[in-house]
């Protein structure tokens, strides 16, 4: 079960992920990111506080947009990941490619 919400706060798009992302629903994450792309966007903050699970299908979606984010000058940050979910990003070294912070305030402090 996955619930995705997008909220716009000033110039930031808040992408709120709740539940579990696997091969059956990673396409929904893809659509959400595409819909943000279609708008005028400079910062994406991913709220992972209620993300219980993400498999490689979901991680692959984030990875596939990294070049586009860079090309379009879009900054992306993830915050609030539970330790069990964070370890998945870390073991693949994805935390070196996407900034991951413990909470929203820390993530917002990075917005430049």
């Amino acid at each position: 079960m996955l619930k995705i919400d997008i909220q716009i706060e000033q110039q930031m798009h808040l992408l709120i992920l709740k539940g579990e992302i696997d091969a059956s629903n990673s396409v929904d994450l893809d659509s959400a990111i595409q819909s943000i792309f279609a708008q005028d966007c400079s910062v994406i903050l991913v709220d992972g506080r209620e993300l219980d699970y993400i498999s490689s299908a979901g991680l692959g979606v984030f990875m596939s947009y990294l070049d586009d984010f860079q090309e379009k000058g879009i900054q992306i940050f993830i915050f609030g990941l539970a330790p069990k979910v964070l370890q998945v990003f870390e073991i693949l070294g994805l935390d070196k490619l996407i900034s991951i912070r413990p909470n929203k305030e820390d993530a917002m402090a990075l917005v430049g």
């Binding site: 490689s56 070049d67 330790p83 370890q87 998945v88 073991i91 693949l92």
Partner: protein, 138 residues
């Protein structure tokens, strides 16, 4: 102790797999991080089979057996059809995945990093992938 689950080749069944594994792993002394590592690894192998070996044909099925003996957790994933030998798979570089925008390849990297041992066996008709993890190994 051992338990088994039969899953049809539909990615919608992955939720059932996670529930089955979570229930089984809760009976072990693994902590939350370790349980998550096993759950994710088994799901990666199973999702791979459902999508790539069985083309999401929901009339076909995969059998998952979970077994704990002493300090060794063994998960066996059985399927029939075109075998996928995880041991033969060449891992892509992360940089390469980004530039080619390829969405696959990360799953098997996770399995290799999180599990202690991986085996693959086939008789040309029935394939078995075995994932092992030592409980209390740290």
């Amino acid at each position: 102790m051992s338990q088994s689950l039969k899953l049809y080749c539909d990615t919608g069944q992955l939720t059932l797999l996670r529930q089955f594994l979570e229930d089984f792993l809760m009976t072990t002394s693994m902590d939350e991080l370790e349980r998550h590592q096993v759950l994710l690894s088994v799901e990666e192998v199973t999702a791979n089979l459902i999508i790539h070996s069985h083309a999401c044909n929901s009339s076909e099925f995969i059998q998952v057996n979970a077994n704990l003996e002493d300090d060794l957790l063994k998960i066996e994933i059985h399927d029939q059809g075109a075998g996928f030998n995880i041991l033969d798979y060449e891992e892509p570089e992360i940089d390469q995945l980004i530039t080619t925008k390829r969405k696959g390849g990360l799953g098997i990297m996770l399995v290799r990093k999180f599990m202690d041992k991986i085996e693959f066996e086939t008789n040309g008709r029935k394939n078995t992938c075995r994932l092992f993890k030592l409980v209390n190994s740290k």
